[in-house]
């Protein structure tokens, strides 16, 4: 009987103290609601700061001479788990009369991309990276298939 009563009141005490603990936490949140984590997205468009590791889409880096670092090795194409990247190569004849492999089109299907970052890791020459853009909605699905190398861009000198 005594042990039963002991257990009974212990249960009540534990229940009340744990409930009060929960209420203390939510009460803290209620009084500190100004420390919000929610982004006021369309309003703060101009001051929006995204986290450093945010992945929006794959882009190819071009310098001011319209040159990129993609050798067309297709390591990214092999690394991609769901066939997002398709690299179409061509052979250019350079000044010394040698044939050299270069990319014709770096085709990127944004609609298939899961932003897994494996292509960026796989790239031996750091030619591609993840951009922070995220407003990707379009009215036609075909618009999501992109060619990442700019027209008439060339492989940068010295990149093998």
């Amino acid at each position: 009987m005594i042990t039963f009563l002991k257990q009974y009141f212990k249960d009540i005490y534990q229940a009340i103290s744990s409930l009060l603990k929960g209420m203390k936490l939510t009460g803290y949140y209620f009084t500190h609601h100004k420390e919000i984590i929610t982004q006021q997205y369309p309003d703060n468009k101009s001051t929006l700061v995204l986290p450093e590791r945010f992945r929006g889409e794959v882009v190819m880096l071009h310098d001011e001479n319209n040159e990129h670092a993609c050798t067309g090795c297709s390591a990214c194409e092999l690394a991609c788990p769901n066939g997002t990247i398709k690299i179409i190569n061509k052979f250019e004849v350079n000044a010394e009369g040698k044939k050299k492999k270069a990319i014709d089109a770096f085709v990127y299907h944004l609609e298939l991309c899961t932003m897994c970052n494996l292509c960026i890791v796989a790239c031996p020459t750091d030619a591609i990276k993840m951009a922070q853009t995220f407003e990707h909605s379009v009215f036609d699905r075909s618009l999501l298939t992109k060619q990442l190398n700019k027209p008439n861009s060339k492989l940068r000198e010295g990149v093998e």
Binding site: F30, H33, T38
Partner: protein, 358 residues
């Protein structure tokens, strides 16, 4: 100074000067009905917005903030949407009961408004069995819920309604015990007497620890009686897709939704009247200056602020505690709240007989 009792007596005298007694009574009843409906509409708008804001702030969100400044017109826009929605009746439903149920729930909430003292000398009907009237009428509201659940011809609705019935009948007892403890201390069932007995201090403070226990039990029991989380077994969105109002849409659903908030307001108003002194200002012993400043605040403000404080506490519960299972719910009532409240009532009676309260 503009006081609610002055307004009501002004209306009464100016009507009595021109009209016969019967027509005055009829006119005053119409005015009261209109005022009650207006109060309900306003309360619905305010409490729903308050609930959404409180829940948002507790979850570190922002809550509604688009319609109007800081989102204050959000609930008005929601109401407009609900009014415009089609109110259909499902096939196989008991049409008459289906249509009647929301009104039953709503009218019972409206009747409960009668004995509540909103300000000094300002109550619709200060009858001598006020507290008993409230407990008696509030237990009828389960019929509306059972009616809705049965008439919908839907197994989820029926389950929700049955759970609600079991729950309300169970928790009625401990709520009654908690109310009874204050009746024992006051020695009267009349609301105005109960408020007057707290002029030198609220029962929550005057009645020592047993009054505090009664207050806690009352809050837990009325949270269950109004079908609020953590006791919202009647709705139980995750199990019963909405419980007794699964089949309801449009304005009929809005009436259930409104009745929930009105019921919260009423039980909090009663809690404030019984334990927190109703419209009585907060006084501390012999601090004359402090007491005088407190007296200057209108009694209606005191009543409303106490009520809204209790409403906030109940909302705080909702957004903090996880929902109980139905067996845990009944276990809590029959194995914990009922024995404790019975023993507590005994203690309170001892205090009242010996005159140990302040």
């Amino acid at each position: 100074m503009l006081r609610l009792e002055n307004i009501s007596s002004f209306i009464h005298t100016s009507l009595s000067n021109h009209l016969s007694e019967t027509s005055v009574l009829l006119l005053e009843m119409t005015i009261i009905a209109l005022a009650a409906i207006t109060l309900f509409a306003l309360l619905g708008l305010i409490l729903v917005l308050m609930e959404r804001k409180v829940s948002a702030w507790i979850q570190i969100r922002l809550g509604p903030n688009r319609v109007g400044p800081k989102g204050i017109f959000q609930t008005a826009a929601d109401t407009l949407k609900l009014v415009l929605k089609e109110g259909f009746v499902p096939d196989g439903a008991d049409k008459f009961l289906y249509k009647l149920a929301p009104f039953v729930v709503m009218i019972i909430a409206m009747i409960l408004l009668a004995p509540i003292a909103f300000a000094k000398n300002f109550a619709i009907w200060d009858l001598n069995i006020g507290v008993f009237f409230i407990t008696a009428i509030s237990s009828v509201s389960v019929i509306g819920i059972l009616m809705a659940g049965w008439a919908s011809n839907n197994q989820y609705s029926l389950l929700g309604a049955m759970r609600s019935g079991a729950q309300i009948i169970s928790y009625e007892i401990s709520a009654g015990m908690a109310i009874l403890s204050i009746v024992v201390l006051t020695g009267s069932l009349q609301i105005s007497d109960i408020v007057a007995s707290q002029s030198n201090g609220w029962w929550l403070f005057k009645g020592h620890i047993p009054a505090l226990i009664a207050f806690v039990i009352y809050i837990i029991a009325v949270t269950a009686e109004t079908n609020r989380a953590p006791f919202d077994m009647a709705e139980a969105e995750s199990e019963l897709t909405g419980g007794f109002h699964t089949e309801y849409a449009g304005m009929r659903f809005a009436l259930f939704f409104l009745a929930e908030y009105i019921n919260i307001f009423i039980v909090c108003a009663i809690g404030a009247t019984l334990f927190l002194g109703g419209w009585m200002p907060f006084h501390i012993g012999n601090w004359e200056a402090f007491n005088h400043i407190m007296d200057y605040i209108p009694s209606s403000i005191w009543f409303l602020s106490k009520t809204f404080f209790l409403i906030f506490v109940i909302m705080w519960f909702r957004w903090t505690f996880p929902r109980l299972r139905i067996d845990q719910l009944l276990q809590l009532e029959w194995k914990y709240l009922l024995p404790i409240s019975l023993f507590n009532l005994l203690l309170i009676t001892l205090i009242a007989i010996k005159g140990w309260h302040f």
